[in-house]
């Protein structure tokens, strides 16, 4: 199993704040890595730094061996990184179709690929010509994910896809992501919902105060309640 993404000694400052304080991590190809941690630990900043939306102030980020920490966001996206931000960020003024047209950067929408996506998210086919702003929260999340997978990507960065969604929708979303995973995607996903994390994750990273404090197999963490409590606190129980 080869390493797709590596971060070594990455620091990120936002204004006066030192958010990432030396991140070292490895994302193996073809696996789903869960990034856990309490609020403010730096999970979203980690994804944004990989995406080039925040500039790393020091350290190295490599995608398939190539340095990307000095690259601009569009360049990083063109190297095959798909990004699903925490806020979903669908273009609400545009239709579902237009959102996907923009996501398929290199040309017209590929029918086969589209059918593949519709397989996961039939709702998108139904609301094809509706304004994205009029979709429900779950549908927006699907559109946001669909945008990230409409073209083949090397790596998917997904930030808290289950946030704010009703439990039934969360279940369905997990099914979708599992399916995407089965197709061999490499995913780095931030998740607060430990249930979702356990369902989807192969590997797990836990962050605190801008550093990685735990690396391991998801199965091991899922089985070790004491470790969960030590790393993630009791609040996790509430999620289950």
């Amino acid at each position: 199993m080869s390493e797709l993404l590596t971060l070594s000694g990455v620091h990120t400052h936002i204004g006066r704040y030192h958010i990432l304080q030396g991140i070292d991590l490895v994302i193996p190809e073809g696996r789903t890595t869960m990034l856990l941690g309490r609020n403010g630990a730096g999970k979203t900043t980690t994804l944004r730094t990989i995406m080039g939306l925040w500039q790393a102030s020091s350290g190295q980020i490599r995608l398939a061996g190539e340095r990307i920490d000095q690259r601009s966001t569009p360049e990083i996206a063109r190297l095959g990184v798909g990004y699903v931000p925490e806020t979903m960020a669908v273009f609400s003024d545009l239709t579902v179709r237009e959102n996907l047209v923009l996501a398929a950067r290199d040309g017209p929408l590929d029918d086969k690929q589209l059918d593949w996506v519709f397989g996961f998210f039939p709702a998108l086919r139904r609301f094809w010509l509706s304004r994205a702003g009029s979709l429900s929260g779950g549908q927006k999340q699907m559109l946001s994910i669909a945008r990230a997978i409409i073209e083949p990507r090397k790596l998917l960065l997904i930030d808290e896809p289950t946030k704010g969604l009703a439990p039934a929708i969360v279940m369905a979303l997990i099914e979708c992501l599992r399916e995407i995973k089965r197709k061999g995607a490499t995913i780095l996903m931030v998740e607060q919902n430990f249930f979702a994390a356990r369902e989807l994750g192969d590997n797990v990273l836990v962050m605190d105060n801008g550093t990685i404090v735990h690396r391991g197999e998801m199965e091991l963490l899922a089985a070790d309640v004491a470790l969960q409590e030590r790393l993630l606190g009791l609040s996790l129980e509430a999620h289950q």
């Binding site: 601009s72 990004y83 003024d93 959102n99 923009l102 039939p122 009029s134 979709l135 979303l173």
Partner: protein, 336 residues
């Protein structure tokens, strides 16, 4: 696969038509006040023509702001520069312009307008690279830089062309009016309306039917996500900036012909009007800008006819009224 939330009722897309009806309502309400139908038609046509010209000048500014949060206080410079550059063709070829042949007139006007647009567009390129690029994201500095740019451009025009007003007579075939019954419609106003409509339709089609347009609309809403999809938004922005500048140049030529004179201060003078238009319209919205321009022109024309004294502050009153109704303008852009 589970069909997620399939049972959710999808809210019908809301068409916000109230702003569109506003100018129509205003025009209709004015009928009894103006009294005679012929005056009303004349005033309404005058409003539409003036509104279209203002729209052409303002459209670029509102997109530039919407897309990149850049407020260009020097936008007026493109207007004045466009008008002056056009005189380079219009004045030497005044002979052909005074010939009473529409085609000959247009054969001179069209290249003049194109040259003006090219010059303003190139100036836009320079301004974006030199004055705007170094201060992205810093409103205060943007205002200072672009205000400085406006002064420099205006003064350069004075230095190169002299401080006097340059008369710019209308081409022979565009002078006078078309008479229908007892209604007189100035020919030039018809042309201005036509050009304005073409520009408006072209912008709307670009924004709604092309990938570039989709990107602009998406970028206005969330430029970060556009970048995360792999598009270089700064390049897009430069294109929008240059196009907006070129349109301001076109508007400048049209305005100069409308007023039949060119002066370096015209850019600065029109800036205020343009700001009011884009504030009314909702910063970043093209449809809002279009309606705002029409409203401002209507208030100026009807107001000037009915209560000339009020015309001085009518724009401010209009702005206050609109912002009382919708504090972010007629069509607020979602993310702002």
């Amino acid at each position: 696969m589970t069909d997620l939330a399939a049972s959710d009722p999808l809210p019908k897309p809301k068409r916000d038509v109230a702003p569109v009806l506003l100018p129509v309502a205003l025009a209709l309400v004015m009928i009894p006040f103006v009294g005679s139908t012929s005056s009303w038609v004349t005033l309404t046509i005058a409003s539409l023509a003036m509104g279209m010209m203002i729209f052409i000048m303002a459209s670029g500014l509102t997109l530039v702001f919407g897309l990149m949060d850049v407020l260009n206080f020097g936008h007026g410079a493109f207007i004045a520069v466009g008008a002056y550059i056009a005189t380079l063709i219009l004045l030497p070829l005044a002979g052909s312009l005074q010939a009473d042949s529409l085609w000959l007139n247009l054969a001179v006007l069209a290249p003049a307008a194109l040259l003006a647009m090219a010059a303003s567009g190139v100036l836009g390129l320079v301004v974006e690279r030199v004055l705007v690029l170094p201060v992205y994201g810093q409103h205060l500095k943007q205002i200072l830089m672009t205000t400085g740019g406006l002064i420099v451009a205006e003064q350069m025009l004075y230095a190169l062309w002299g401080p006097q007003i340059i008369p710019l007579p209308l081409p022979a075939s565009l002078r006078g009016s078309v008479i229908i019954g007892d209604i007189a419609i100035a020919k030039y106003r018809l042309l201005a309306m036509l050009v304005g409509l073409v520009v408006y339709v072209a912008i709307e089609l670009t924004l709604n039917r092309t990938k570039i347009g989709l990107l602009i609309r998406a970028g206005v809403e969330n430029r970060e996500m556009v970048e995360a999809l792999g598009y270089r938004i700064r390049r897009l922005f430069l294109g929008v900036f240059m196009t907006g500048s070129a349109l301001a140049g076109l508007g400048g030529v049209m305005w100069a012909l409308y007023r039949e004179q060119v002066h370096a201060s015209m850019g600065g003078d029109l800036t205020v009007l343009i700001f009011i238009v884009i504030i009314i319209g909702g910063l970043g919205s093209i449809s809002g800008c279009f309606i705002g321009a029409l409203l401002v022109a209507m208030v100026a024309n009807y107001g000037g006819f009915l209560v000339p004294k009020l015309a001085l502050v009518s724009n401010i009153l209009l702005m206050v009224a609109i912002l009382m109704w919708r504090p972010r303008g007629l069509y607020a852009v979602t993310s702002r």
